[in-house]
């Protein structure tokens, strides 16, 4: 109580503060608002451009999804354009490539999740038990590096290493007496190339959070386990994994939420006419019909479908984890 009063007196001038305190129960909203603004004006001023930013670049575009239910005419603008009902959705669901897009999108993300999610955990655990201190530090440093390389350069490197004539993989194949394979032109290899290059680029960075979670595991548990003669594998199973369970679950929920959000840049950059069968995903389709073919309404409808599924996935994953582990994002 005295604590609060002291603050009040300092920020507002003395007389009005005492008045305000005396009248506290009956103070009208406008006076309270004015007092609050006077006290915290700097905070409101700071947050103003931030709110403006989110209104303009997040909430106005969100309202722009009505475009999905309209026939966009440039002259009439978003809100003046005539309604089209569910026409665009029907066209998308009935389109020849709907199942292909869905299969590729879900396929690539499930593959990414299955491979890309456990590997950083495994890496963190193994790194944690590595006896060679210097190797551990070096490996940690080196494994973060690819994360900072741009997607364009990563894809450029993929193209170099996967080259049908001069790439290292084909040199190895040739050395073993096989026939060279043009990896990037063959739909069969696309998903694997995408996922495993992503593992190479991201596993070090993704492991940071697990490494720091492992550092927080109670060391006395390990001491007790060693006394009892537990092996390292037993310690991993019964101490480390339970210790970082909540971190794992949190990250898993977050990943589930982006299941339909295959990284646009990388797929787009690795895409070519020959591997389209495996590489065309919803995100790249939205770009192609939207900005290349200028089919604004249709593109928005496809995008909206994608984000609605995403939304449902986050909520479902969160609900599931709440029930199973009492761990949730909100």
């Amino acid at each position: 109580m005295t604590h609060n009063n002291r603050k009040g007196i300092q920020s507002v001038n003395r007389v009005s503060a005492i008045n305000a305190r005396a009248k506290k129960p009956a103070r009208p909203l406008s006076v309270r608002l004015a007092g609050e603004l006077k006290k915290n004006w700097a905070l409101y001023l700071m947050i103003l451009p931030v709110i403006a930013y989110y209104i303009i670049f997040a909430y106005i575009p969100m309202s722009g999804v009505v475009l999905a239910f309209k026939d966009f005419k440039v002259k009439l603008g978003i809100f003046g354009s005539p309604w089209a009902g569910l026409k665009h959705f029907e066209r998308f669901f009935g389109g020849y490539n709907f199942w292909l897009l869905l299969r590729n999108t879900v396929g690539i993300s499930l593959y990414t999740l299955l491979v890309g999610f456990p590997i950083p955990i495994l890496f963190a655990l193994l790194l944690n038990y590595l006896k060679q201190e210097r190797l551990r530090k070096t490996l940690q440093m080196v494994s973060y590096a690819p994360y900072f390389i741009s997607t364009v350069v990563i894809c450029g490197m993929i193209a170099i290493f996967m080259d049908a004539n001069t790439g290292i993989f084909n040199q190895i194949i040739a050395g073993l007496g096989g026939t060279p394979v043009d990896f990037l032109s063959n739909p069969r290899y696309f998903k694997s190339i995408y996922v495993w290059s992503g593992v190479w680029q991201g596993m070090g960075y993704s492991s940071i959070i697990y490494i720091s979670a492992l550092a927080g595991v109670d060391p006395s548990l390990h001491e007790a386990a060693i006394m009892d003669g537990a092996t390292k594998i037993q310690r991993i199973r019964h101490i480390d994994l339970p210790g970082i369970k909540s971190t794992i679950v949190m990250l898993l929920i977050m990943q589930m939420g982006s299941l339909m959000n295959v990284g646009f840049e990388k797929v787009f950059l690795l895409q070519n006419d020959l591997n389209m069968q495996a590489s065309d995903v919803i995100n790249t389709y939205v770009y192609r019909v939207g900005l290349i073919q200028n089919n604004y309404s249709y593109s928005t409808a496809v995008g909206l479908f994608n984000s609605v599924i995403n939304m449902a996935l986050v909520i479902a994953a969160n609900q599931l984890s709440k029930r199973l582990t009492e761990e949730s994002l909100w």
Partner: protein, 303 residues
């Protein structure tokens, strides 16, 4: 008793196998991480013919700087470089100012709209208008094909705001503010004199994230930029690395040997341009490395 003894006897054995396998796996990983990067470096300084024939595997062969000479003469790389430098410096400055402007009020317990504003921000993490509605807004603002399109539409990241706010809440004690107020310091003064200096680790980390994001940004230019002279480095690199078009001019008067040589040089140009474009980012990283894990840890604690 008996059982325990057998476990104890087994223990050193099982663990040493584990250690050996672990060491082996880690050494393989070290090679897997390093070799691709190493290869790009040695290929960029090797004789193009040797690289072409696949003779360059572990060490450079026929060391030459031809590839770097080609990069220096390749004009659009340098205009891309200049643009990217501008986008990165100015863009990161805008990011940092706005992020602090968002994170600090949201970290203050006595700021009433805090809770609702956090929800307002979090919603944008999971739901967005999508490509076209955002494009139309940027278009309406007249930002298409201007330098601002590279910096304004992604001026803030909710994730970075939350991380910064969590850091403010967790590592700067409330008592400091009360003490500062007793000394007559206003909000702004307190922010600059106390909060920001104490938050160097997190500011370094999010600064790095933003800067690397701008440096590597290819998407914004793909969507918003048409003019050749505004293209950032990554767009130029894409043309160089990922399209099959000839990057070096070949005229019909050239002999077959010259054409072969040009083709090989075009290949090594890829390596040298990767080096030239990636080294600045990799140099930035050790500078903030010591803050990295600490900043990440304190910031990402659920708050």
């Amino acid at each position: 008793m008996d059982k325990r003894r057998t476990i104890k006897k087994k223990k050193p054995n099982a663990d040493s196998v584990f250690d050996m396998v672990n060491l082996a796996v880690m050494l393989v990983l070290l090679v897997v991480f390093l070799w691709p990067l190493w290869f790009v470096v040695i290929a960029s300084i090797s004789d193009p013919g040797q690289v072409w024939q696949g003779n360059v595997i572990l060490f450079p062969k026929g060391i030459t700087l031809d590839a770097y000479e080609e990069v220096i003469q390749y004009k659009s790389i340098w205009s891309g470089y200049r643009n990217t430098l501008l986008y990165t410096l100015l863009g990161t400055a805008i990011n940092m100012v706005l992020t602090v402007c968002a994170a600090y009020p949201l970290s203050r317990r006595d700021f009433p709209p805090r809770k609702i504003l956090i929800i307002v921000l979090m919603v944008t993490m999971y739901f967005s208008g999508g490509l076209i509605p955002t494009y139309l807004v940027v278009n309406r603002l007249g930002l298409i094909d201007t330098v601002w399109a590279m910096m304004i539409p992604n001026a803030l990241s909710v994730f970075n705001i939350i991380v910064t706010r969590t850091y403010f809440v967790n590592s700067i004690p409330e008592e400091l503010r009360e003490a500062a107020q007793l000394d007559g310091a206003g909000t702004v003064q307190y922010l600059f004199r106390v909060v920001l200096p104490l938050s160097k680790p997190i500011l370094a980390v999010i600064g790095l994230f933003y800067a690397v994001g701008h440096w590597n940004d290819f998407y914004s230019a793909l969507i918003y930029i048409n003019s050749q002279q505004l293209l950032p480095l990554q767009s130029v690199l894409r043309k160089l690395l990922l399209t099959t078009q000839m990057t070096l001019q070949i005229s019909s008067s050239m002999s077959p040997e010259e054409i072969m040589r040009k083709t090989q040089l075009a290949q090594t140009l890829k390596y040298s341009s990767i080096i030239v474009s990636t080294v600045p980012v990799l140099c930035l990283y050790p500078l903030v490395q010591k803050h990295f894990v600490k900043g990440m840890m304190i910031g990402s604690v659920k708050g």
